[in-house]
């Protein structure tokens, strides 16, 4: 009897323990910090927030009000300012070359005079012209200047805490494969910044929280972080679509992953990668002009963003008289895609566009390969298929058959066409730092851990931009001031894109990812997989004026 009672107790406790582990809110920890690791239970979820429903209308690039918007010139901007700023040698703003470097301004604002540095430049884009280069060094505080202090939430005299919420414990295709990698990229960026002098006398400290892909846990993570971190940085979480009612109240800037259209409409969010619907428009336009199919099929994931992307693409293709003859909705948990291959095969399109996720698209590719069927002109898949590490997952089938569109350039083998955007010094630095932080094993087979996925690339880029912007404010670092600094300047990523968040709307022109990149999967010399840059580049809005001069675009050719 006693034995039975003990067993009951053990079973009850183990069940509760397992339940607790499974059902608790997001857990958080600090990374990139010398201080003790902090793990605390998640707070109770916040009240529910309204969800934004993305519209499918992608025909307008937003308010085309920035006639004087700076033309981005990443290649030229990367090198020239003695103050560490990227001088803009773009002809459009050439005359302002000596006065337009925001970082030079910040260095001045940290001068011994002790003048407050948190007054950002006037929030009108284009007045200063030159983008701040991500690859330039962060200015050190001027000697004898005002001492750093706890100027805002998440900021102390020597530390700036930044937060990230990721679905690291979600399903393998989302959690370890992408969200976990996001944390590693952020960690690499933070370590790089700290090793190179920090942010005007302060070190960055990364605080992470795992929401497992659960919005309720994500809200709990947010509640824990909102008063403890200065800003949030790119995070792979569904939360970024439903938290818009909270950010203005809490006044916390979030440099977000940019997956949801609604992120572009939130004044406190600074999306760090392409708007999916604009990307769908750009790739459809590119396909119509370059591939020239008569008919197209569309594969899309059955979620709001990808349904909207499908609708945008259909509309764009119709402009060229290209008919969408078949479309299939995938579920991310689909055990088999044979029936969808059959549906597509029956529709028999010349070309297939994909707005979906890696796992179901990989299944589709495998099942199409098994059925020995392919559209005669190939596929163009969104960035989620384009990570350099995904080749083996998709199999031989994708070689010479799949194009992919990405927000940032991707490093490839030697390729003169990829010198701009892809094989840049900043890409090399990102690659070196990822290996330095995570060890050589990280590289695996051609970046198997998605370190060069464009969402994870956005983590690297935006932490560096955060460091630059925070450095400009010096001791008086505040969330409000930081927001204004981000909006007042343009930021050269060094990966082929200059980022802008216009103050009136982050969705307005110049839209950061107006020009994107197309790569094609090819066979590598060692028999593996490689990507090849295909030009010209796709463009969302050719009249936006922020296409790098050296870019070969459909419009310019």
């Amino acid at each position: 009897m006693a034995l039975r009672r003990r067993w009951r107790y053990v079973a009850l406790m183990s069940t509760l323990a397992l339940l607790g582990g499974a059902c608790s809110g997001g857990s958080s920890k600090q990374a990139s910090s010398n201080s003790k690791a902090e793990t605390s239970p998640a707070a109770s979820p916040a009240p529910s927030a309204g969800s934004s429903t993305p519209g499918a209308d992608n025909s307008s690039a937003g308010t085309p009000s920035n006639a004087a918007a700076p033309a981005a010139d990443s290649g030229q901007a990367a090198s020239s300012s003695a103050a560490g700023a990227a001088a803009n040698s773009n002809p459009a703003a050439g005359k302002a070359a000596t006065a337009n470097a925001p970082v030079a301004r910040s260095a001045a604002s940290n001068a011994p005079s002790g003048s407050k540095a948190n007054t950002p430049a006037a929030p009108t884009l284009g007045g200063n012209g030159g983008p701040v280069s991500a690859s330039s060094p962060i200015p050190a505080p001027a000697p004898g200047g005002k001492a750093n202090y706890a100027s805002d939430k998440g900021v102390t005299a020597d530390t700036i805490r930044i937060g990230t919420i990721n679905m690291t414990s979600a399903t393998r295709s989302l959690g370890p494969a992408i969200a976990g990698v996001q944390e590693q990229n952020l960690d690499a960026a933070v370590k790089y910044v700290n090793r190179n002098g920090g942010v005007a006398g302060r070190k960055l400290q990364l605080v992470t929280c795992d929401d497992g892909g659960d919005i309720a846990r994500g809200r709990a993570c947010y509640e824990k972080m909102k008063d403890n971190v200065f800003a949030l940085v790119p995070s792979i979480t569904w939360l970024t679509d439903v938290i818009h009612d909270r950010l203005p109240k809490d006044k916390i800037p979030w440099m977000s992953w940019g997956w949801f259209k609604s992120e572009y409409e939130d004044p406190w969010m600074f999306p760090c990668h392409a708007n999916g619907m604009r990307e769908a428009s750009a790739v459809s336009d590119w396909v119509a002009k370059i591939i020239k199919p008569q008919t197209v099929g569309i594969i899309y994931l059955n979620v709001s963003e990808d349904i909207a992307a499908k609708d945008v693409a259909t509309k764009q293709l119709e402009k060229y008289g290209i008919k969408v003859v078949g479309s299939v909705a995938q579920e991310w948990d689909s055990p088999d895609e044979s029936q969808h291959v059959l549906a597509m095969r029956t529709a028999n399109p010349d070309f297939v566009l994909s707005f979906s996720w890696p796992a179901p698209v990989a299944k589709f590719a495998h099942d199409a390969s098994t059925q020995k069927w392919a559209p005669k002109l190939g596929y163009a898949a969104n960035h989620l298929t384009g990570d350099p590490g995904y080749g083996p997952i998709f199999g031989e089938y994708i070689k010479d058959r799949f194009y992919t569109i990405t927000s940032w350039g991707v490093p490839t083998g030697p390729d003169p066409e990829n010198a701009e955007g892809g094989n840049t010094p900043e890409q090399q630095q990102l690659r070196d730092e990822l290996l330095r932080t995570n060890g050589r094993e990280y590289q695996g087979f051609k970046w198997r851990y998605a370190g060069m996925h464009h969402i994870t690339q956005s983590g690297w880029v935006c932490v560096k931009i955060l460091a630059k912007a925070a450095a400009q404010m010096g001791p008086d670092l505040t969330r409000d001031g930081f927001k204004k600094i981000l909006e007042a300047n343009s930021w050269d990523s060094g990966l082929g894109v200059v980022l802008h968040w216009p103050p009136q709307s982050h969705n307005a022109n110049p839209y950061s990812f107006n020009r994107e990149f197309i790569y094609k999967w090819i066979g590598a010399s060692d028999g593996g997989w490689d990507l090849k840059r295909i030009r010209p580049d796709p463009v969302f809005d050719c009249s936006a004026g922020n296409i790098p001069p050296e870019a070969k675009t459909v419009c310019n050719s």
Partner: protein, 299 residues
């Protein structure tokens, strides 16, 4: 709306549906086995499936063991874990069934986490025990050796389990415990032995399902969890009591998905799965209404 469907498209969709259904049927067998002894819906099945497949993957792909040895290894580990779960279950005899069911779910989550720690952080597909290549073309589709092997295995296991339950002394004991455990014990049937034994068999079946399903689905705990949910929908057709009806129910789910997904009937996004579950719901309702008439089939 039915659009111009050729016979070959329909035939292909049916074939695809049958093999998708086979995936669910493999998973349903473990669910039925454990329910058949003490009326517990064993939500530990997906965990055991994933863990068994993980052991198989590690043995075959990492250690380089022969596929057959790896298969046996994975199934034995599944059986051992199923037995442990059976022992725990035995100690919870007086607990509410719902609580025990939740306990088995936590075991799945625990095994998912454990497998995640073992597996590399990318999606992996273990090698098929029937070979990764080979097959033949049928209509517009292609049937691989793996699919044929899985289908035949599923039929053999279903027939074997149905035979054991209906024709052997072991089956009589199992049915007796299922009907009234305490009376069965009074009659001298070793309750513990049979409960642990049947749960071990359920664990072995789950591991076998995981090994045969993961080359197709990929070895992703949550994807296999969703396969189990569809399997549960199929198994419900027989009230979770019959291996044969669970097999048929699972095929029905797969066929519905195959035909609806192949575009023979155009549905909007999301309605494809909803349509499939609707068909199963109607079938379950019918089976429930006609339970007395169908009892001989279900057992």
């Amino acid at each position: 709306m039915v659009v111009g469907v050729t016979a070959s498209v329909f035939e292909s969709a049916v074939i695809i549906g049958i093999f998708t259904g086979t995936i669910y049927a493999m998973m349903a067998l473990g669910l039925v086995a454990s329910f058949r002894i003490n009326r517990v819906v064993n939500l530990g099945i997906p965990g055991l499936a994933v863990f068994g497949a993980t052991v198989y993957f590690e043995m075959s792909n990492v250690w380089g063991a022969p596929v057959l040895v790896s298969l046996v290894g994975g199934v034995l580990v599944g059986a051992a874990m199923g037995a442990i779960l059976g022992v725990c279950n035995l100690k919870m005899t007086e607990w509410p069934r719902g609580f025990v069911m939740i306990f088995t779910l936590t075991v799945s989550l625990f095994l998912f986490g454990w497998s995640d720690k073992i597996l590399p952080p990318i999606q992996v597909s273990p090698a098929s025990p029937f070979g990764d290549s080979g097959g033949f073309k049928v209509a517009l589709t292609y049937v691989s050796n793996h699919q044929i092997g899985t289908f035949l295995t599923c039929i053999v296991v279903t027939l074997l389990m149905a035979w054991v339950v209906s024709r052997t002394r072991t089956g009589i004991y199992v049915r007796a415990i299922y009907d009234d455990g305490e009376s069965a014990a009074t009659l001298g049937i070793p309750l513990s032995y049979f409960v642990v034994g049947v749960w071990a068999v359920a664990g072995a079946l789950a591991a076998l399902a995981g090994i045969l399903v993961s080359p197709r689905v990929t070895l992703d705990p949550y994807l296999i969890l969703f396969v189990t949910i569809w399997a549960l929908a199929g198994a419900i057709l027989g009230g979770l009591e019959s291996f044969g009806v669970a097999f048929i129910g699972s095929l029905l789910v797969g066929l519905s998905q195959g035909i609806l997904g192949a575009g023979i009937i155009h549905l909007g996004p999301g309605l494809e799965n909803l349509g499939a579950i609707g068909i199963v719901a109607v079938a379950v309702f019918y089976a429930g209404v006609k339970r007395r008439d169908l009892a001989h089939i279900q057992t």
